[in-house]
């Protein structure tokens, strides 16, 4: 006990020292004023004292859990067990779908708008989940594909007057093609190099869009992009928001359906195996290049597609919407929710997008919290809020038919 107290005291003193110049002194070299904020020192001391206790508690708890797992004990939470129960899953899905459908009837346009952006992030999260969560390819420039989709629609709409519905698949395909083209040079790269190169791609995209004015209209962006058409009718702002909301719901369902099928297919298993151990995977006869490319390109597909929707929703895009921070947010959605877990990613997107939206006081701290959450999740719960559900199969065994390849 005393030992703990002493340790926390040391930690708290250390952090007081560490944060002193940045938290206490605020200097404005422009107006030549210095502000001393001594109260902050107290807050830092208090917070770090409590956090160090919490930190140690969590570490011991984690160690205990590891010990239980090694003994072969049950480490899945009640929630996890409930989710593995198929009949519960179907019921829950039904309720959620119903709630999603009546949402815009119950709430106002503003709420629907917020919900649309959360749903956009759900699709982005699910797309990135393919490359990061399933295939283990850390992509830090994912937002570039989103941008490619958005710009595809904006430009095709601007120059050729193409509509939303025809561009939606085109956006996805263009995203996919970019995925393949960018994927080729990085096939041979190891995980961490890949992360940096994709980060580079993301930044190149933004710089090119900012400077290639003849194509992209530069930093000022493209305005007056058409909203989705509804059988040629002009919709009011409120109606069109609701319309986009339903399109988004459909797109989310479509994404969930497809990614779920992919995950539980021969291709999906190859992705997961590649994530787990590349050498064993290739020794099992799996073509690395093809598997990597397919994961990368299919991840990009969703970003491209939802990019089209984003452009049509905001009716205005510029390069500033496609920064590294966006990629980081999408990545934290996947990490927080649970890498590889579709349900987890959906939940992660809602938490990360809606929480700052509804807690305005908190929204200033949102990136701070995202960053901290990524670290904390990696240390204490690398599997995310909802870890990947275990897949079980039906089989008869040798007593059944003996068709053995």
């Amino acid at each position: 006990m005393l030992q703990n107290l002493k340790q926390s005291l040391i930690v708290s003193l250390w952090f007081v020292f560490l944060t002193f110049p940045l938290m206490v002194i605020r200097v404005n070299t422009m107006d030549q004023v210095v502000v001393w904020r001594w109260m902050n020192m107290l807050w830092v001391a208090l917070a770090s004292f409590i956090l160090s206790y919490l930190w140690r508690y969590m570490l011991t708890r984690q160690q205990m859990r590891k010990a239980v797992a090694e003994e072969g004990g049950e480490t899945r939470s009640k929630l996890q067990l409930l989710l593995e129960d198929m009949s519960f899953r179907y019921k829950a899905m039904g309720v959620l779908l119903l709630a999603a459908l009546i949402f815009p009837q119950v709430f106002d346009t503003y709420q629907s708008t917020i919900m649309i952006s959360a749903l956009i992030y759900v699709v982005l999260g699910l797309g990135l989940n393919i490359s990061v969560g399933l295939a283990g390819l850390l992509d830090l420039g994912y937002v570039a594909f989103f941008g490619v989709g958005a710009y595809s629609y904006a430009l095709l709409n601007h120059h050729f007057d193409l509509g939303f519905w025809i561009t939606l698949p085109i956006g996805g395909i263009i995203g996919c093609l970019f995925g393949v083209v960018l994927g080729f040079p990085i096939l041979r790269l190891r995980g961490d190099y890949l992360a940096i190169v994709t980060l580079g791609f993301g930044m190149i995209f933004k710089v090119v869009m900012e400077n290639w004015s003849s194509l992209s209209f530069g930093p000022s962006g493209i305005a007056n992009i058409d909203k989705p058409s509804f059988f040629g009718m002009d919709l009011s702002l409120a109606d069109s928001t609701i319309y986009i909301y339903y399109i988004m719901i459909a797109l989310v369902i479509f994404t969930i359906l497809v990614t779920n099928r992919l995950k539980n297919s021969r291709i999906g298993r190859a992705w997961i195996a590649m994530r787990e151990d590349e050498i064993a995977c290739v020794a099992m006869g799996i073509d690395m290049a093809r598997t990597k490319l397919s994961a990368y390109a299919l991840g990009a597909f969703w970003a491209g597609m939802v990019g089209v929707l984003f452009a049509s929703k905001t009716t205005f895009i510029n390069p500033a919407s496609f920064t590294f921070m966006e990629s980081a947010i999408i990545l934290s959605i996947v990490v927080l929710g649970g890498m590889g877990s579709i349900l987890g990613v959906i939940l992660g997107a809602f938490i990360l997008i809606l929480l700052p939206e509804y807690m305005r006081a908190f929204s200033e701290y949102r990136m701070l919290a995202f960053g901290a959450a990524m670290v904390i999740m990696m240390i204490f719960r690398p599997q995310g809020i909802i870890s990947n559900l275990r897949q079980t199969y039906q089989y008869k065994g040798l007593k059944g038919k003996t068709n053995n390849g």
Binding site: R261, L262, R266, I279, A283, G285
Partner: protein, 266 residues
């Protein structure tokens, strides 16, 4: 007698250099149909490097690796990617177990079926009847392999939670799922207790006799090697120093010398 049997794998003068270091020095070796061949030698003799060359993980500096599948034309394996080698019918396990820890035991084996099945991305999304049937076939045949290695009760466990000996057997099942005619086992008995080793002995024989898969294994457990394998090849410092039947190997003074102080039960 060995002459009459069909030659499956033929390695001629295999040499592998790492920078200035010669890890494998012109080693030749053959594996025939129905054989359980063994590659033994002290630690660091280059046995695993030899495996890595044959299975395409390294591209050898010199020499030929020829595969003679029955009824098909001979293929030279040099420079082929590991997945191509596996497709050709040569599967392997790893010395330091390399399972897919966060996949279930059954899924680990199902991965082995990958190169023998073909559903692509679009068909995986559409999941038509053919794909569903193929999936079911993958599940069934994988489960049957688990039954063969005695792991059917663990089918839905995560492979990381398996005991050590079971993990080694799972690696064998996973390799067998690729439909090989030649299986390369890298120290399959490492870390096993005597009972597990005895079971392994049985299993390897069963694979050889019932499944008609030829086997080449690296092993340190001399009791196991002498009991099941013939012929035996011995490597030391990257060179092959002896080959022959268990009795010939036991009587070979060179081998005894190489193992002096290394293994006492040889």
């Amino acid at each position: 007698m060995a002459d009459k049997k069909h030659k499956l794998l033929e390695v001629k003068g295999l040499t592998m250099d790492f920078g200035g270091l010669r890890a494998v020095d012109s080693v030749s070796l053959e594996v025939h149909e129905g054989e359980i061949a063994a590659l033994i030698g002290p630690n660091g003799a280059g046995k695993t490097t030899f495996f890595n060359c044959v299975t395409g993980i390294y591209n050898p500096t010199k020499g030929d690796i020829l595969l003679h599948p029955k009824g098909l034309e001979t293929r030279r394996l040099n420079g082929l990617k590991p997945n191509k080698v596996t497709e050709m019918g040569l599967a392997r396990t790893f010395q330091n177990i390399r399972l897919f820890p966060d996949m279930t035991v059954l899924e680990n084996v199902m991965i082995g079926r990958h190169c023998r099945t073909k559903a692509g991305i679009f068909r995986a999304i559409l999941r038509d009847k053919g794909v569903r049937e193929e999936e079911q076939l993958i599940v069934e045949s994988s489960y049957q392999l688990l039954e063969k290695v005695g792991l059917e009760d663990f089918a839905n466990e995560f492979s990381k939670n398996l005991p050590y000996g079971a993990q080694r057997r799972l690696e064998i099942a996973r390799a067998m799922a690729t439909d090989p005619f030649l299986l390369l086992l890298d120290e399959p008995a490492a870390g096993m207790n005597p009972q597990e080793t005895a079971d392994l002995d049985q299993l390897i024989r069963k694979i050889s006799e019932e499944e008609k898969i030829a086997i080449l294994l690296i092993e340190h457990d001399m009791k196991l090697v002498m009991h099941i394998s013939n012929p035996i090849y011995v490597m030391e410092y990257g060179k092959k120093i002896a080959e022959g039947s268990p009795q010939e190997i036991k009587d070979n003074p060179k081998v005894v010398e190489a193992y002096l102080g290394e293994e006492t039960d040889a």
